[in-house]
Every structure is written in C-alpha cells, then in structure tokens.
C-alpha cells in the first residue's frame, strides 16, 4: 500500500474532481444568419461555449497542406477512434500500474473528429514554428534534468520512452539535490515539496490561450464590459474581466497567471490583447514574454469562432495562429459546473508528499528500497489517437 501511495495519489486527486462538460444535442449552425446583438447593440457572445469535436493542435504530417478533412476521412477516423472508447486501459489488477493508472476511458473521452486537420491555421502546414536557439537550449536543459531523476528507475532500465536521451545507472543522480533549470511547471520524479508538483497538482492550472478539450467558458456581457468565466475541468477554473476602456496594459511589474486582457470591438469581432503573464505560467514553453491577440467572432446562432495569434520572440521564430470553433451549450444541462473547486479537496498533493516522506523513512530504516529508484510519475500508456 505504502509503496504505491505516492504514485497513485497524484492521479486520484485529479480523478476525484474530474468533470466533463455535458454536451447538448444542438442543431447544426446556420452560419448564413446575421450574428445576434445584445439589446444595447454589441455583438452577442453570451452563453456557455465548448468545442463539440476533437481537433489536434498540430496537423499530422500525413495531411501535409490539407486544412480540412474530407467527409470520408472523418468517417474513417471516427470509426477507428470509437473502437478505442471503452477500452479499459488498466493493467493487471492490484499492481502498482493498476492503481497509478486509474485514468481509463471514463476520464479520457474522445469526441467526434472535427472538420479541421489542425487548430493551427498559420503557418499553413498546421505545425508549430521552430523554436529559437535559446528556447531549444532551455527545453534540452529541462529534459536533461527530468531524465536524470529517472536514471536509477525501471523506466530507464527498460529503456522506456520517458528515458529517451538518458541511460540507466543504479545510483540515483546527484541532480536530486538541484533546483530545476527554471520554475517548475511539469511533472518530475521528485516530491520534495509542493513546487515539485505540476500546476494542476497544486490547483494552479492555467491559463491562456484556452482552446477546449474538456473545458467550457461562459461569457456574460454588459454595456462596456465583458466577463469570461472558464471551467477547465479537474476542478479548476478562473475568470477574466476584459478591460474595454482603451486604457494601456498594466505596468510590466505586475505579472499574472492569466495575464492582463484589454479588449475592443473590430466590427463584429471582439479583439483581446493579452500580456503581463507570470513566469510561473507555461504555454508550450512560453512564459512571461507570451503575447496573445484573441479574436472572438459569433459565426451563427449556436457557433462562435475563437482565433488567437500567439507570439513570443524568445520562444518561436515567428508568430503563429490557431483557431477553434465553439458551440453554444445548454445552461440547464451544465448547471453544476459553475464552481471549480480544487484546493478544497486536494488530498492528492499532501498524499503525494506524505507518501514520499514515508518511503524515505522506510528506506532510512532499511525496510524499503530507495524511493529515488522508483518512477513515481509513470502514467498510463495510452493508445495513439489516430487523429494526432
């Protein structure tokens, strides 16, 4: 029990608070109709919105410059992917992997294949632009550190993918005593304190841009004001109050998890400029230099397009743009998802830390192996989604 405790708890907290959005059977959007307006004449973006189909961020290279799937491709992908649903990915009952891998199909639902082959619409190949040399260096340092913490575990002994770039050495790495190369936002095989956890483990899930998956957003408007409330699943969510008065961004000294959002209308499109991100946030490796220009446009009675241009000259060699289509959801069927609560029930994080301390104590007394020789962050091996 004690042995599997640490590995299991991280999954348990997430599973315990996991939610999925109830998707109502809404009609097909009729994009020909004029976008609706609020009584005071602004474009009406209000309601609960989510993505009803799956679109990968990056386009699989096999689709090259094909922006949209054909109907036949979508049908084929849906067939392949629906065969995956219901698979119980848990391995041998009672094993460590069984308990640690408590995520099964219930927690990883698949939706129908979307129309687009990628969320990325620019560059035209649907792929992320290349990283700057500086960003490559940081990514390599991060990976090296994380692999070092796995070198004395089964994962490296068995040459599993998580150990790529490293090699097995039965002696735990001296790097266990080091700080990560920069503020930690990813999982690592060390649990010295809360900061060794991921932001979701700490109920600090961020951030922007937010494309969907298992999330939804509620937009409420008033004359001269817009509030967006996000629930991103796993008990986590946040709010944005878009400043619409034309004033400049916050001073650079003020850094926030969700940045600083300044909006204005361009015709029927809400354009939001977002800066002032905290160095504790991480989007695809981008941190405090992330700059977003979001464009929210109502495209039909039940549809909304979200397009965002993402820029960080320290990270990518060029800006890139991603697009996601959202569909309006029923208030009634989603009525329980207004209250993200995570820290209120986060037994996982203290459980994880307590588990490691217990293992260290047992090791010190010669009753158990060195916990550094065990991979406590081993996830479940998911089947490859053919959409990716």
């Amino acid at each position: 029990m004690r042995d599997r405790y640490a590995g299991a708890m991280i999954m348990v907290v997430i599973a315990a608070v996991a939610v999925s959005v109830v998707i109502s059977a809404s009609g097909t959007p009729t994009s020909a109709e004029a976008p609706s307006k609020t009584p005071w004449g602004d474009p009406d973006l209000q309601g609960i919105w989510t993505d009803e189909s799956d679109t990968p961020l990056q386009r699989s290279p096999r689709y090259a410059t094909q922006e949209f799937f054909t109907e036949a491709q979508r049908a084929e992908l849906d067939k392949l992917r629906s065969a995956m649903i219901g698979r119980d990915r848990r391995s041998e009952r009672g094993s460590e992997a069984d308990v640690a891998g408590a995520y099964n199909a219930v927690f990883t639902p698949l939706k129908r294949t979307g129309a687009r082959t990628s969320r990325i619409v620019d560059p035209p190949n649907g792929r992320l632009p290349s990283l700057t040399p500086e960003a490559q260096k940081i990514a390599a340092a991060e990976r090296e550190f994380r692999v070092a913490l796995l070198q004395s575990t089964e994962t490296c002994k068995n040459k599993e993918a998580a150990c790529n770039g490293g090699k097995y050495d039965p002696t735990p790495s001296p790097r266990f005593a080091e700080l990560p190369p920069r503020y930690n936002t990813a999982r690592m095989n060390r649990h010295d304190g809360p900061e060794d956890g991921t932001p979701p483990d700490r109920c600090l899930t961020g951030g922007l841009p937010e494309f969907g998956g298992i999330s939804f957003r509620r937009v409420v408007q008033t004359p001269g004001g817009i509030s967006i409330f996000y629930d991103v699943g796993q008990g986590q969510g946040w709010q944005r109050n878009i400043v619409m008065d034309g004033s400049p961004h916050l001073p650079a000294s003020i850094r926030q998890w969700y940045g600083d959002s300044r909006g204005h209308w361009e015709g029927d499109t809400l354009v939001i400029d977002v800066t002032n991100f905290s160095p504790k946030t991480d989007f695809q490796g981008a941190r405090e230099n992330l700059h977003l220009v979001e464009r929210w446009t109502r495209t039909g009675p039940t549809s909304l397009a979200y397009e965002v241009t993402i820029e960080d000259p320290t990270m990518w060699t060029r800006p890139w743009t991603a697009r996601q289509e959202f569909t309006r959801q029923s208030d009634q069927e989603n009525r329980i998802y207004y209250e993200p609560r995570c820290i209120e029930g986060n037994f996982g994080l203290p459980g994880l830390l307590h588990g490691r301390r217990t293992e260290e104590f047992a090791f010190a007394e010669g009753r158990a192996p060195d916990p550094r020789t065990r991979d406590s962050i081993k996830g479940v091996e998911f089947e490859q989604d053919p959409l990716q």
Binding site: W40, G193, P223, G225, G237, N241, D331, Y338, R341
Partner: protein
C-alpha cells in the same frame, strides 16, 4: 426547501418574460473612463455593473465588538479577558494583526440567534480560528462572506445573467435571472436565482454545503442555509446590501445583516489576481517537505518560535533618532 425553490424559479421565469426592452441611454455622472460609458440602467433595470467593495469590519466579526489585540489571543499578565495579548502565531504582526472594532452589521438586537449547541461550536471555532477558518486555506469564501471580504469584486450585469467575479481566490458566481434549476450537489457559493422587486435585485441562494463561514469570528452555518439578498442602488456609487439568513439547523429564527457596498471609483480600477492557494501552500503542506522551511514541526503541529532579529540601527529608540 424544495417547494420554496420551485416557487422561486417560477417567479423568476415570469419576471424574465416581463423584462422590458427599454434601454436607457442616460449616463452616470461619476468620474473615470470606464464609468463614462456605463449606462445607469440595463434593459430598464438599475445597472449594478462595476467594481465594488465593502468598507467595514464584517469579515472580522459580524457582531458589534470592541477592538481586540488579534484574532487569536492568549492570557497576558492579568487574568482578565480585556487584558489578553496576541497568540504566538500572529504576535510578530504587531498592531497590524489587531482586530478593529465595529458597531456590527447584524440587524435588530445585534444578536445571532444560535441554538445552544451551535453557539458552543461558534465559540470553539473562534478559539481554533487558525485551524478552522476556510479563509486561511484560500477555500471558496461562500456567500454572503464573499461580499464583504476586504477584496474587490466585479459585477457584470446582462439581461438574463448577472456574473460576479471576486478577486479573492478567483471565485465566480452567476446569478440566474432566467430559469435554471439548482445543481444536483451542494456548493460553496450556492445557487443564485435573482428577480427584480421594482429597482431592487432580490437573490434567493440555496444549495450550500456546510463548509464556509460568515467571518473570522467563527460564525458558521449548515447545509440548510438559505439566503435572500437584496441589492438596492442608493446612489450611482453605493449599493445597500441586505441579507436574510435562515438555517433551522443552526439558528432559532431568521436574522439579517445589512451594509453599504461602495464603488471602487479609481479611474484605472480593475480586478487583479489573488490566487491565494499558492500563498497557503506552506501553511497547509509545509510539514510534508523533505526539508521544511519552518524548522519546528511536531507531526502536523507547527511550533512557532518567534525570533525577531532587529537590524542594527532599527531598534525602536534608534529608529526615532534617525
């Protein structure tokens, strides 16, 4: 409980249908860029949109009280209650840890009508404030407490929804002016259904859990809590906020609180983040670190040794001489 709820949702549906389509074009006369574009009314109803904050001592204690040295105290030199000194964990805060006095916000005789057994729990809550108050752990504050914590909140008023974003802990609350049934599970922030009584917004709040508190003095409720809030604009920058509190498990009769909420009139006012669960990590999980930052843990108990090193020249009599 359920019967009352059904009735209120029916009334809301009727109110929503009856909403007038008149848009007022009159503007408020107060200063500030954002305010200059805010109409006084939305769809014929008073416009509560904007950033507001209570300016009182209710979050310390809803009831009338004299100033106290700290939220938690210990016996000082004298054995008298009026001569206690701050308890060790807050001692180093000096006068900044003290509790300001207040005439209280409880209406009528100023008493909270606890059942005898519940009053005992309230008193124990106050004694164990550090371990029990959900605010210290950055838990969702509940209603009405979120309305008078010392943090601003922003109201975004539309025609069928009124959204409230609280700075504290990223807390959200949606007041439904249209018909949305309550959630199947109880909640920290309740299920809010609003209707208009003339120019007063009346909000019925149900579906609470029993976890949130009313203040730092240990005032509490059960999951039978039912609130009726009334929001009335007294002037463009002042809301009169009244709440009737009913909870037959804890109180012998309904009681109420009332207070003004003030507009944050700074021209550049905006909500910033106060993502406090990060700030509470050391408090909650510090004992589980491999190398604790607080050096004296006995199991789950934090032993607070106070070592206040005064840098040379900053002793209080030297400071005066500077």
């Amino acid at each position: 409980m359920r019967g009352r709820f059904l009735r209120s949702t029916i009334m809301v549906a009727v109110a929503a249908v009856a909403v007038s389509a008149v848009i007022s074009v009159s503007m408020t006369q107060t200063s500030g860029q954002a305010q200059s574009t805010r109409p006084a009314r939305v769809e014929g109803k008073p416009n509560f949109s904007g950033i507001w904050q209570a300016n009182n001592e209710a979050n310390w204690d809803l009831q009338a009280h004299a100033a106290r040295p700290a939220a938690v105290t210990q016996q000082g030199v004298y054995p008298y209650d009026y001569a206690r000194v701050p308890a060790a964990p807050v001692l180093a805060l000096g006068a900044a840890g003290a509790v300001p006095g207040s005439l209280g916000v409880v209406q009528g005789d100023g008493q909270i009508p606890y059942k005898p057994e519940a009053l005992l729990i309230k008193q124990q809550n106050a004694e164990h404030w550090i371990d029990r108050d959900p605010e210290l752990k950055c838990y969702l504050p509940g209603v009405p407490r979120a309305m008078y914590m010392p943090y601003p909140f922003q109201i975004t008023q539309s025609t069928n929804k009124i959204h409230i974003a609280y700075e504290f802990s990223n807390t959200a609350r949606t007041i439904h002016l249209d018909k949305v049934a309550g959630p199947p599970d109880d909640t920290w922030m309740g299920h809010s259904v609003g209707r208009w009584d003339g120019d007063t917004l009346v909000v019925d709040v149900t579906n609470f859990n029993d976890r949130s508190w009313f203040d730092r003095a240990g005032n509490f409720h059960s999951d039978a809590l039912h609130l009726v809030e009334r929001f009335t604009l007294r002037s463009p920058d002042v809301i009169w906020y009244e709440v009737t509190i009913e909870d037959p498990n804890v109180f012998t009769r309904p009681w109420s609180i009332a207070m003004p909420l003030y507009r944050r009139a700074e021209p550049n006012m905006q909500l910033l983040e106060f993502r406090c669960n990060e700030f509470a990590e050391e408090f909650m999980y510090g004992n589980l670190r491999k190398q604790p930052l607080v050096k004296h843990w006995e199991g789950d108990t934090m032993i607070v040794d106070i070592t206040r090193k005064v840098p040379p020249g900053d002793l209080f009599y030297q400071w005066y001489g500077k």
